[in-house]
């Protein structure tokens, strides 16, 4: 996503966040949306400021571009996400077993569905990538 499009998306996050905040104060939305709205507005504003800085500061732009495109950083990102996948799948599997032992049937069902979904997603993605490469 180029910088201009990112800035537009971040402005939308800020506006949505402000909208939720106003909605809780005037529109009678549940107070939990105040938290969501505040978070969205704050994160959107932070990212917007970062994107403006990226656009105006040549040194920062060069440094950021190198950091994003750097092959070692890409490798580390891919490895990190792979480990997150392993931990999530194994974690949900272990949680399923624990809930089964504790006879917490509802929780066990949820974690078993999550485990199955993660394994199915892995199989589908593996199949797609094996055709692509």
């Amino acid at each position: 996503m180029n910088n201009a499009r990112r800035m537009i998306v971040n402005v939308i996050w800020v506006l949505l966040g402000i909208g939720l905040i106003i909605g809780t104060k005037i529109g009678g939305l549940d107070s939990i949306y105040f938290g969501f709205g505040s978070g969205m507005a704050f994160v959107g504003l932070f990212l917007l400021i970062r994107d403006i800085f990226y656009k105006t500061n040549d040194e920062y732009r060069e440094k950021t571009d190198v950091a994003i495109k750097d092959e070692r950083n890409r490798y580390i990102r891919q490895k990190s996400w792979a480990w997150v996948g392993y931990i999530a799948t194994i974690g949900s599997g272990v949680a399923t077993l624990i809930f089964m032992v504790l006879s917490l049937k509802d929780y066990m069902l949820i974690t078993s569905y999550i485990t199955c979904f993660l394994l199915l997603a892995y199989c589908i993605i593996y199949f797609i990538l094996s055709k692509k490469y």
Partner: protein, 67 residues
């Protein structure tokens, strides 16, 4: 994989930062390459060889046991 990047770089009187800029990678990547913690892609290996006007075989030492 062992390599001679550090020795060749120093022989040319180039700093890691300079080499990183020329290769369009971060200085940390060059550092990790030199101490063998990271193996480069074929593209980066080729670019390094071309930069130092040498061959990939001169830069990188392939050992069967390292696989």
């Amino acid at each position: 994989m062992r390599n001679n990047i550090e020795a060749i770089r120093k022989a040319h009187g180039i700093h890691q930062e300079e080499l990183a800029k020329a290769m369009e990678v971060s200085r940390q990547t060059i550092s990790s390459l030199e101490n063998g913690r990271y193996n480069p892609s074929i593209v980066l290996a080729y670019k390094l060889a071309k930069y130092f006007d040498t061959t990939i075989e001169e830069l990188f030492i392939f050992e069967e046991e390292s696989l």
